[in-house]
């Protein structure tokens, strides 16, 4: 049966090529016979919020911002763990509660560190 072990791959490749090509060719034909292209300045503009974009995209960000984002992320993840912890609180074993407290303590330690370094101040 398997005299052509790679035949399925070839078929796959052909389908993969034809699948996107057909609509593209159809669109081209459509343009050729019926609908002319009408590009324009605002149609080709990068942004599409209705306003003209102003200034340069390469502006300086405060490095602070990333620290903020990371600290936020830590506490974001923490809530995901805290919620099931809170709902199952009464049924947990002592070990599990201790493990959870250690986890929270680690995060609090991170917060204290960031705080003492002054990263929470935005001036």
């Amino acid at each position: 049966m398997n005299s052509q072990p790679y035949l399925s791959l070839v078929v796959f490749a052909v389908v993969a090529a034809v699948f996107p090509l057909v609509p593209l060719i159809l669109a081209r034909l459509w343009f050729y016979f019926f609908a002319p292209l009408k590009p324009g300045e605002s149609k080709n503009a990068t942004y599409e919020c209705g306003l003209v974009s102003e200034g340069d995209a390469r502006i300086q960000f405060k490095a602070h911002y990333y620290l903020y984002a990371i600290v936020f992320l830590i506490f974001d993840v923490e809530t995901i763990f805290l919620l099931p912890f809170a709902t199952a609180f009464l049924n947990l074993s002592v070990g599990a509660v201790l493990a959870m407290l250690v986890f929270v303590l680690l995060l609090v330690e991170g917060l204290v560190w960031a705080w003492s370094k002054g990263y929470l101040e935005w001036d």
């Binding site: 019926f34 609908a35 002319p36 590009p39 324009g40 300045e41 605002s42 149609k43 599409e48 209705g50």
Partner: protein, 207 residues
Amino acid sequence: MSVLSDSLIEDLKKQGVLVTSIEALYNWGRSNSVWPLQFGLACCAIEMIAASMARFDLSRFGSEVFRPSPRQADLMIVSGTVTKKMAPQVVRLFNQMPDPKYVIAMGACAISGGPFKQGYNVLKGVDRFIPVDIYIPGCPPRPEALLHGLMELQKKIRAQKLTGENRAKYFDAAQPGEYPIPSFGEHDLEPSKNAALWSPAQVARKD
């Protein structure tokens, strides 16, 4: 008696069987997937939102997919008061929509300025800057009126021609694809209207 209606025979003579059937297929497809651009300008937008919800169910007409980007939208529902400060943005968004595109002016404000017509900052009708296909009167129009407007638009789309003299403007290379965007002047928008597009309606009046 012929099975074909007179208008269809006329059409077949002009465009041929192939184009006529492509046209029917194309218009059928387009008219049943009119995706509106998702934006609202004032109180009328609330009725537009109501029309898209379960009770009135815009999705029966294939129009439930409100697009957040003009690049994916076919229909601009101008739902509400177009202030002069907003007008350039509305025109720019319309320009950024790919052809073919349609405009529904929903409510008295979008048609003529409505209750704010003599206000210093209200555009007296969005048709001064972009071509409007369907006008829906009302302040605000009920969702049923919007559905009716949409059905009228679908009829209009199903009747559009691909080739020939009367072809829809999107298929005509000579018709503009973009409309000039007004700029903020010292006293008014500049220009205050697109003269090529809009001229005051002729009113018969006794002097």
